[in-house]
Amino acid sequence: MRRRSLAVIGTALVLGAAAAGCGNGSGSGGDGDKPIVVGSTLSLTGAFAATGQIHKIAGQEFVDRLNANGGLLGRKVEWKVVDDQSDQAKVSQLYERLISQDKVDLILGPYATPNILSAMAVAQRHGYVMPQHSAVLAPQLTYDCQFPAWSIGPTPNSFIPNQLFDAVATLPSPPKKIAVLTSQSGSAAFVSDGFGDDKSGALSIAKERGLDVVADIHYPPTTTDWAPIAAQVRDADPDLIIDNGLGVDAANILQAMAQLNYKPKQMFGLFPAPGPLLALGDEAEGMLSVSMFEPNKPTLDKLGPEATAITADFTKRAEAAKLPYTVFETQAAASWNAWEILTDAVKNSGGTDQRKMCDTLHQKGADTTFSGHLTFDPKAHNFWPTTQSIKQIQNGDWVTVWPADRAAAKLEGPRP
């Protein structure tokens, strides 16, 4: 018995000592020769891992190029990236470690909205500037030194449906009956149902525009059997199917409909994994989605040789990593933007002082390769005027088709 209480006290003392003794953990340096360390987590395993991979390859490519060109402020840049296993609970712990224990100089956000929200709280506590690639729901991102690298403007829940409806309205025979499928996931459902008190989303906007919503189906993100959904859609036979879902949802729904011998007239998928849709071949032809960047020839020609080299290098790296889809598109471009926001802040403020970096970004904005010059308005939670486009699968490839000034090809309507 005495031993047991000794053990208890011992454990407590050890833990206490742990806490007390860690002050001398890692030295606090700031020498000119030391590399600048950037810390972040990515979902390299688990539910969000499919996209986490892309950000890892793009980020590594960015760091390599940066160092090849002399680094940042004459110092090498080192990227410490940790796997958060798509587990939201791990994210805050890992960022806490990166900042307060590993004492990284800079941080970048993780991937996926819930994770970004967790990381943002930690960054805010420590006053760190946090550029992030993929959270677009502006009202949630309240920290003024959080900088989005992908913007759908301040109200994405109404912007996306409006942009889509605007685009399809230009078709010779615009859709009248629509079906809305919604994944019950925080990253997608707001485009159908709105967010918080703002109830405007695809469902309400469709009604405002006089469209007939013939099917409204919400499905859990864990859905594996798509046949019942496909059958309902087939029976409703809409002119346009909107799938506000993620990952392989759109591909699975398309395939399930194909298996029912049903070819949808036109379909839109919100945030699909691009590869699996292309793998469907002819079935996915004409599919619509949102995009921030597609490496279409006209676009690349406009951006210049640097952009072409970056996208080509990415493809090579992605092939080496055996990614199924190796094209540098929206996610990779968002990643690139985030890095450029971060490095611009350091360059323009002349150091890694977080407050200065944050202020500099608010004052001067940042220059990016793929989205041009960005300005950050703290009132809109730093969400810059969007460059969001609509893309379409044409002849087995993703092409930007809307709005006209950024389009690389013409939007195609349903095939007869």
Partner: protein, 649 residues
Amino acid sequence: MIRRGGIGLLVAFLVLVAVGAFSDPLGLPSFYLILLGSICFWIAQATSWNILSGYSGYFSFGQAAYVGVGAYTTAVLSGRHGVNFFLTVPLAAVLCGLLALGVGAVAFRLGSLRGEIFALLTLAVPFILAAFARINQSIDGGQGTTVPVPEVPDAFGSLPELQYLLALLIAAIAVAAAYAIQHSRTGSALAAIRDAEDVAEVLGVATFRYKMLAMLISGVLGGVAGSVYALQIGFVTVESVFGLTIPLFVIVMGVLGGRTHWLGPVIGAVLIVTLQDRLSSYGLDAWNSIILGGVLALLVAVSPDGLYARLRARPLVSLGSLVVVGGGLAVLNVWGEFLDWLVVGMLVAALLAIVLGSRWATARLPLGRRARTTAEPVPAEPAIAEPAIADPEPAEAEAGTPGDEPGAVLVECRQVARYFGGVHALEDVTLDIRAGELVGLVGPNGSGKTTLINLLSGAFRPTRGVIRLDGQDITRMAPHKIAHVGMARTYQIPRPFDSMTVRDNVAMAIMFGREPLPLHRARPIAERHLATVALDHLADAHPADLNLHQRQLLEMARAIASSPKVLLLDEALAGLNPAEVDNAVRVVRRIHESGITIVIVEHLLRVLNQLATRLVVLDRGTCLADGEPQTVLNDPAVIRAYLGRQAHV
């Protein structure tokens, strides 16, 4: 002793509180607070799981249900309806408590649910709750809820400090609850349920009530911890709280640390969380799950008792290796940082404890501190030889002739029948047993003797008929109530509570008897009963260290400890050698002389012939003969039943 352990816990808690409160002056990076907070969360969850699954042996896969309901209560109420965070915590506790009681009422009402079926049933619960939350989008608005940061009271400083202190408080409450339960009657009851549930019931433990209590405590703790978890993650979705990760981790921690002791899950949680942090710090994330899975598989295969038991067996080696390895690394300071040293130290200590505790090592190394069965020879005969109890000239007075007072009728069986499907195990048995009798119950195999014992003790209910004990109708009573009326029994194959010492085995019967006593008062009485069966010298041993005869004596001691009016002995002499039989017979006589009426099932007619005051012969489920041993054994019908129907006498 209880107090000293409690003081240890209190000191540990205060040290950790101080660490949180003075983290700034200590120069403590906030990461350590977050890590400690995370450890505390998992300690609370693993402990909550352990109170049900470890203590009572009902393995649950449904921990996510409590975390989910707790987190959702807090997230939805504070995030969507503006309720104060601190008010949502007790609400989460209440909701999870109700949920636990509901699941328990469904699962335990159907008595036969055990093991994997209970596990699968609990696995289904979070699935249902998750689907429920998704169907009713009005609960979370269909896309998860942000948990607003509560106003941090001035005393707490920053939010991380508040989060840490909250997590610590809940972990402390959970561990204190686990500690208190383990050292209380409830803990003993749950351990007995885990070791042998129906024996516990027959001994007087109201098993249903205790299982429900464990469910309730587990649910409340899990829910409160889940509610604080919502604050930690900040944004709650169905996937993040109702998934498989939480039950998986909780099970790994519980199994790793050890399920029978309050400290087990604590050890498991500390080790797993810090190990995971170190692996990820060194970029070994791809190995994280492989190591976790490997640890689980290996540990269940090699040391199913968990680390705690192994560590406790060698506290000096364990603590020493932790201090030497961890401290050595710290002093050398050539590699890593504090957490690395701590984790390496803990791993070395754990590994040493496992290796040294393995069968291979105990057999080969002379270090055996308390090697079971082999090292501590328990001589059968010498121990029995002279029990130091007042027993003048054992059993000289009566050799077959009973106490001359017939006594009042104590047990009445009226037309009792029991069928199993189409098999008629007992058919209309009518029988009276009077106070002071020692009735031998005999009959060929399959004649229904054990069935009758099971009916009398309440293990089965009769298909037909009435049984009364001391005037009370016990026909449909729960076994533990029958025990309280005054019935006790032993089992043909002894069924001790393996996790308890011999003394505590007997003390169980006193703690849950007609006049319940706390453990510390039950123990001295237990020793008196052990002396009656001449087992007092083995009071500190565990049942596994006893031989068959000693285990059977333990059964008797445990049975008489509940001070029964009637004692049912089911083949208490089977498998013994002649010397042991003689000793057991002396013990039975002594028990009988102390005024307990006995019904004994036995094959050895030569023994019963001398011992019993009356013989009842069963054959094919009916009463064939009843009377004085000599008369009965000369009854032609009895001889036919035993020697075969062609016997000519």
